[in-house]
């Protein structure tokens, strides 16, 4: 039984973590430019902040797989205002 003690403890910890640390999915309103018009997207996708690549989420207007759009927190597509992630 002693051989299993550490492993069982790890399993209990893992089950506890998974039960109590689920990420709260809150909807955030993102904006993307569809041609010349601004479109709002309410999404629970998380753009973990970073500094490398533009944050992109699924386009709800054309929900094909792989159809991603660059998003902004406000209706401002000036260079440097897009949400960036690592």
């Amino acid at each position: 039984m002693k051989k299993y003690l550490l492993g069982i403890f790890a399993i209990i910890l893992a089950v506890g973590f998974s039960a109590f640390t689920t990420i709260k999915k809150t909807d955030t309103t993102y904006h993307f430019k569809n041609g010349s018009e601004w479109v709002e997207i309410d999404s629970d996708e998380v753009c973990v902040p970073g500094s490398l690549t533009p944050c992109q989420i699924d386009n709800p207007e054309t929900p094909a797989v792989g159809d991603m759009v660059t998003v902004y927190l406000s209706q401002n597509d000036s260079p440097g205002n897009e949400l960036l992630r690592n």
Partner: protein, 153 residues
């Protein structure tokens, strides 16, 4: 003999950490299976196998955890863990180097990591897995040598 004791403890601790990681990520993926499948489907590399992978990956992770728990299958569990970590780390490395679109990550606490942090995390666990195999093999050789020389340990 003292070294052998330390080696055993190191292997046990690393195995426990791997069990913690795989049980946590496996349960999280199965609990939010739809989101996990949606994330995989956005990947240019593995998107076409999203349904298959959304089931098999967490099952393999949980299987690795079980193998690590049982002393008789611990060695197999360690090798499976190393293989899994190499695959996961390779995938993240490939995505960071060769793709422009980086979909959101797997879920749970690890979802809060950036892709770069996730890569560092995976590299750490890959090294830990390799280290535990090395110590496990060394300990097994120590036992075999002492058994053959009939020296009480």
């Amino acid at each position: 003999m003292k070294n052998s004791g330390i080696h055993t403890w190191i292997v046990e601790i690393i195995a426990a950490l791997l069990i913690l990681l795989f049980v946590y990520t496996g349960i999280t993926k199965l609990a939010d299976q739809n989101s996990f499948r949606a994330v995989i489907s956005r990947s240019p590399l593995i998107g076409q196998w999203s349904t298959f992978l959304s089931w098999t990956l967490p099952i393999i992770e949980l299987s690795a955890a079980v193998l690590l728990l049982i002393p008789k299958t611990k060695k197999l569990g360690l090798w499976l863990s190393l293989g899994l970590m190499i695959v996961f780390t390779g995938y993240i490395g490939y995505m960071l180097l060769f793709t422009n679109h980086l979909p959101c990550s797997c879920g749970g606490v690890l979802q809060q990591l950036t892709w770069l942090q996730h890569l560092e995390f995976n590299i750490l666990f890959t090294l830990l897995s390799a280290l535990s195999i090395w110590f496990y093999t060394k300990h097994q050789r120590f036992i075999a040598i002492n058994r053959n020389s009939r020296t009480p340990v």
